[in-house]
């Protein structure tokens, strides 16, 4: 009996981690990506390896996912992380009042948190706002989303997966209620092809709705964009967060020789082309200045915006929408052989992959356990050096 063939649509963090999980379980995997690896939402993320502290009061489900995955990623991709921890900084009485709930939340979610003397915080971060009145240290880290995805994909390819970049899914082919495969256009050659599959996983991020529509189903997704501003120098070694409920521009993530301030939140109609509102850029500078007053002196190196694939919930406030993820088995919508995995964050992509891979293996009758918690990832360079096209 030939191995089942699974097509994963999207080579962002969700698709990459899923390809890795399924390939480890011995399935035949083809990843279809219309651009470069991580050219969608994943590439333009804040690069933050979350400790979960940000969500430990308002979204504990997410927080617990984050800290678990944080620890796993440190094991499976140790050479792809800046591990300098993070600080949650209180600048006002309101922040200070939040500290109690924050420490409680961290304890509940098993996030190692340390209330440290302000003097020590200022010595570790000399450009931190001198008006800081409290600081809590947590195991935040920094990654690079591009190499993060490349590492998962390189490992998947080592285990037989095929990745087709610059290839766009133009239609999902069905025979009655069963999905049989996809029609794709390869932009390198201009040719159209049909690829058969036993299962299709829609991991297209904010474009998951577009893909799902090709199979005649819908996904309750709300593409929600955010702006980030990268400064031309690194002002902090540790990730700096505001000690309060999540809000705009309350995180500064360092990386290499830069510091990136983020982010904002607004619903977008078309995730393909997002105009960066100047007002949001200005707000990032003003907010960033609160944590690091020197921000105002540093030229801007880059700014970016991309849509997050948030799952719609009752709340109308984008900030309140949970950052957790969900699998949708479209058999419940009358379409077999098609599942969507949406929502989530790059920090939890391995867990997302585990959930959808478990679901897919169950549906295909494959009894294979997830091994992604333990198996170290191959070098990200292997993705290209093997002559990947």
């Amino acid at each position: 009996m030939s191995l089942p063939h699974v097509i994963v649509i999207g080579a962002g963090s969700t698709g990459a981690a899923t390809a890795h999980d399924l390939a480890l379980r011995g399935l035949r995997v083809t990843v279809i990506e219309r651009g470069e690896v991580a050219s969608g939402t994943t590439g333009r993320n804040h690069c933050m390896l979350h400790s979960g502290g940000r969500y430990c009061v308002t979204d504990q489900e997410s927080a617990i996912e984050c800290i678990e995955e944080n620890m796993i990623l440190r094991r499976i991709m140790p050479d792809l992380l800046e591990l300098n921890d993070g600080l949650f900084i209180a600048l006002t009485e309101a922040d200070l009042a939040f500290k109690e709930r924050f420490l409680e939340g961290c304890a509940v979610c098993h996030i190692p948190a340390r209330d440290i003397p302000v003097k020590h915080a200022l010595a570790m971060e000399p450009f931190l706002n001198p008006k800081t009145i409290a600081a809590v240290q947590v195991p935040d880290g920094v990654f690079e989303p591009f190499r993060f995805c490349l590492a998962f994909l390189a490992t998947a390819c080592q285990n037989g997966a095929v990745v087709r970049r610059y290839t766009e899914v133009t239609d999902i082919l069905c025979s009655g209620k069963d999905v049989m495969g996809v029609k794709v256009k390869d932009y390198r050659t201009g040719k159209t092809e049909t690829l058969g599959a036993d299962m299709i996983i829609n991991a297209a991020g904010p474009w998951a709705t577009e893909i799902a529509a090709m199979a005649g189903v819908s996904v309750p997704e709300v593409p929600t964009a955010g702006v980030m501003v990268t400064l031309d120098c690194r002002l902090n070694n540790m990730v700096l967060n505001r000690l309060n409920k999540p809000s705009d521009g309350d995180i500064v993530v360092p990386q290499r020789a830069t510091s990136t301030i983020g982010t904002t939140s607004w619903k977008v109609e078309d995730p393909d082309l997002i105009a960066i509102p100047a007002e949001h850029v200005a707000r990032m500078i003003t907010q960033g200045e609160q944590l690091l007053p020197a921000v105002r002196k540093i030229p801007m190196r880059a700014k970016m915006a991309v849509a997050r694939p948030l799952i719609a919930r009752e709340s109308t406030d984008e900030r309140e929408v949970s950052r957790t993820f969900e699998c949708f088995d479209h058999a419940f919508d009358g379409v077999n052989g098609f599942v969507t995995i949406a929502g989530g964050k790059t920090t939890t992509s391995r867990a997302m992959a585990e959930r959808v891979s478990d679901m897919v293996c169950h549906k295909l009758g494959i009894a294979a356990e997830c091994r992604t918690r333990e198996v170290p990832l191959a070098s990200y360079r292997l993705f290209y050096q093997r002559g990947q096209s």
Binding site: G43, M238, I276, A294, A302, F383
Partner: protein, 255 residues
Amino acid sequence: MTMLEVSLQIFRYKEGESPHYDTFVVQVADSAFVIDAIDAVWATHDRSLTFRRACHHSSCGSCALRINGVEKLPCVTRLTDVWDGHNPLRLDPLRNFPIVSDLVVDVSGFFQRMSAATMTITRDAEPFLPVSVDNLDDRIQPAVVELPDNLSRFNRFENCIECGICMSACPTMAADDKFWGPAGLAAIARACQKTDDPQEKAHLLALADGEHGVWRCHSAFECLEACPQAVDPAGKIMELRRELTAQRFKKKRRG
């Protein structure tokens, strides 16, 4: 915020067709970066345009190309810094790489070299802040940092983002397919600097000393000029030469 109407002249190539240029006109904000203009072409004019990009803030290195013939990262290049206001902006893929399609080049050979150089992407952070790749003069006085109680060091990623710009700018790379290239040799130099193992060091120096190693460099210094991340590949190549020459003298004295 004003909107600009920009015309982009983009190199096109698809398998089996002849290379040519297509011109597109897009509307972008005056504060836009070149990557935003390319994005606008793709989104509003031609979905068959293939180009590499991911992070949009000079950490992935994938978007490197030539703007009006000069190697740059479009994600950190402001449109108004390279566009004169009326002539079309010309976009070409990097030199010295095989072209896959449009602006996408085949980087497999490049990553083979970077892999063989064995440089890890992380390094110890400097003991002070701020750290920058651009010369910020004395905007901010550097300050020494204290470490947290639980960490023996701060770390960060290497400056090199493996963008391939130096490989495109290097005239030796143009003439010699097998040359390690500025990025490859700089990576060997960094790997050498980071290792304590004398055998590994000897192996790395032997790689640099080879037929397509440091001695092929002819001091054009284009790599130094073009690098967007202050890796200083030229300096690293010369450091390796000095190290290799010193080694030869030591051997002569001993033997």
